[in-house]
């Protein structure tokens, strides 16, 4: 059992968000789309039931925040996992088989990294058309290199260690060595990256929502809420501050979880 509080706090907060996302319709006190112009830009607690206040159309902020976790977490889990699978596979093959496989993958990474990522994602979504699938595709297409680079380097290093050679001295084939011996040693770094990548995916989705390239505007998203709040920051600070805070805490939770895992999974540090 990990004792690191970062794992428990980070993981706990993410679990809390996941539950909020799953049970959003039950938890949210209001319909997140329901407008109430009489109660527009109500401060937190000013109108009965609107604990976090309302936005410029009188929609309940807490309900929108809770429903916003759905998009944020869907993108975090799906996009990061797909980027992880793609990048890790390529990184493993390149680092282990080297030669032309490595030459090809490394060249591809170099070319990919030459593009500025935010610009590339905006461009991609603009071409693919706005929507959840495009956002996920954009994150996968851009961020697989994060995994590929690190996993390739880690695999290169692991494959040089004697346990890989020892396995081959015992008669294990190359594929089996990669799968049974090298992969378990590369996995910790993959898990750490995956956690960090989920945080990144949340931010990227928020950015794309902010510029209106994510899901349609009638689905509540944190990025969309931030964009709205920015315009009325002087009249109603809460419309900006709460989604921004949710975003910040979520990314922080993923990062803390990642850092905690990094230490916990290290067999030498663990003891």
């Amino acid at each position: 059992m990990p004792r690191d509080p970062r794992i428990w706090l980070g993981g706990g907060f993410i679990l809390f968000l996941a539950l909020a996302a799953i049970f959003a319709p039950l938890l949210a006190p209001f319909d997140p789309l329901e407008q109430d112009l009489m109660a527009a830009t109500a401060a937190p607690g000013a109108e009965p039931g609107h604990w976090l206040g309302t936005d410029s159309l009188g929609r309940d902020l807490l309900s929108r925040l809770i429903h916003g976790t759905r998009i944020a977490l869907t993108v975090a889990f799906v996009a990061a996992t797909l980027a992880c699978l793609l990048g890790t596979t390529l990184g493993l093959l390149a680092g282990y088989y080297r030669g032309w496989v490595d030459a090809g993958v490394s060249r591809l990474i170099d070319i990919w990294m030459a593009f500025p990522p935010v610009l590339l994602s905006i461009l991609l979504v603009a071409v693919l058309g706005a929507g959840l699938t495009s956002v996920i595709a954009a994150i996968v297409v851009i961020d697989w290199t994060r995994f590929a680079r690190v996993v390739r380097a880690e695999t290169l290093q692991q494959a040089r260690l004697e346990y890989a050679e020892a396995a081959s001295a015992l008669g294990m084939g190359r594929g089996a060595i990669l799968w049974r011996e090298v992969l378990p040693n590369v996995l910790p770094v993959v898990l750490v990256l995956l956690s960090l990548e989920m945080g990144i995916a949340v931010i990227v989705e928020a950015i794309l929502s902010f510029v209106g390239l994510s899901v349609s505007t009638d689905t509540p998203t944190w990025g969309g809420m931030i964009a709205e709040g920015r315009q009325i920051i002087y009249q109603a600070w809460w419309v900006l501050v709460f989604p921004l805070g949710a975003l910040f805490l979520t990314v922080l939770a993923f990062n803390q979880l990642g850092d905690g895992l990094r230490q916990w999974l290290d067999p030498i540090l663990k003891r």
């Binding site: 260690l161 004697e162 346990y163 020892a166 008669g171 294990m172 011996e181 378990p184 040693n185 067999p267």
Partner: protein, 267 residues
């Protein structure tokens, strides 16, 4: 009867210090024209300074490296350029005890699972009792099988390394500086273990060491290496009584007293 025979073996590795922009990397020759053969049940010491190519030669003999030149035969079969599939049935019969069990034991697997994998790969019984028996033979309790390598001491890890190699009942073993990282009493235990196994199973042993006092007590023949070449070889007693080259004389002169661990002053 000759079990393993290396004839005029050379080994090239890519030279990392010269990165060629175009074309082939420069090669570095780390073994030059080395010939060595071992009979069944024979123990040969490979001696030389660090970097003289002892480990590389050991790996060539086991075909963990493919020789760039020369020929290598095991039990009459030419394996110089044998494919992994051709080597597979021979793997059980030739084993290596690695220099550094810290890195030769996978940190992610328990000792039991490491042993079980090795046994299963070679179609031997990997049941709990046979693993306990193997551990018992190297003086480890059966409970060690649930441990991870980092939970054992250096001496215990080295025993696991030896257990792993001898579990397969090989006919030829390369033992690579297996005592250099250990304290004196553990050294003696591991050496006793190895001697016992050698006498019990009649295996041919290539014993790599830079500790001549150990080599003198263990090996019938000795091979002195320098810069990837064999500079002297012969019966251990002859070489020690009558060193032919100045290099061997210097090596012998530097033998530490048996009771004193080399480097004890630095600590």
């Amino acid at each position: 009867m000759t079990l393993i025979e290396a004839r005029n073996i050379s080994l090239d590795v890519p030279d990392m210090s010269h990165q060629a922009l175009i074309g082939q990397r420069r090669k570095l020759r780390i073994l030059k024209n080395v010939s060595l053969s071992l009979k069944k049940g024979e123990t040969v010491g490979l001696v030389g300074e660090s970097g003289s190519g002892k480990t590389s030669l050991g790996r060539c003999l086991l075909r963990l490296h493919e020789p760039s030149e020369g020929t290598l035969a095991f039990d009459g079969q030419d394996i110089t350029h044998a494919s992994p599939a051709q080597l597979k049935p021979l793997r059980r019969r030739m084993q290596m005890i690695f220099q550094d069990p810290q890195s030769s034991l996978n940190p992610r697997h328990t000792i039991g699972s490491i042993l079980a994998t090795a046994l299963k790969l070679n179609e031997l019984d990997a049941g709990e009792t046979s693993i306990a028996a193997i551990l018992g033979r190297v003086g480890l309790p059966a409970s060690a099988s649930r441990r991870y390598p980092h939970q054992l001491s250096g001496g215990q890890r080295q025993r696991v390394g030896s257990a792993l190699a001898v579990a397969l009942k090989p006919e030829f073993v390369v033992a690579d500086e297996i005592v250099s990282g250990l304290d004196v009493s553990t050294q003696a235990q591991v050496l006793d273990l190895l001697k016992g196994l050698r006498d019990e199973m009649g295996l041919a042993l290539a014993f790599i060491s830079h500790d001549l006092s150990v080599v003198r007590s263990l090996c019938e023949r000795v091979v002195i290496m320098k810069n990837g070449e064999i500079v002297e070889e012969g019966l251990t007693a002859d070489v020690f009584a009558n060193p032919k080259t100045g290099f061997t004389r210097t090596l012998i002169a530097s033998i530490p007293l048996p009771e004193v661990r080399p480097g004890w002053l630095d600590q």
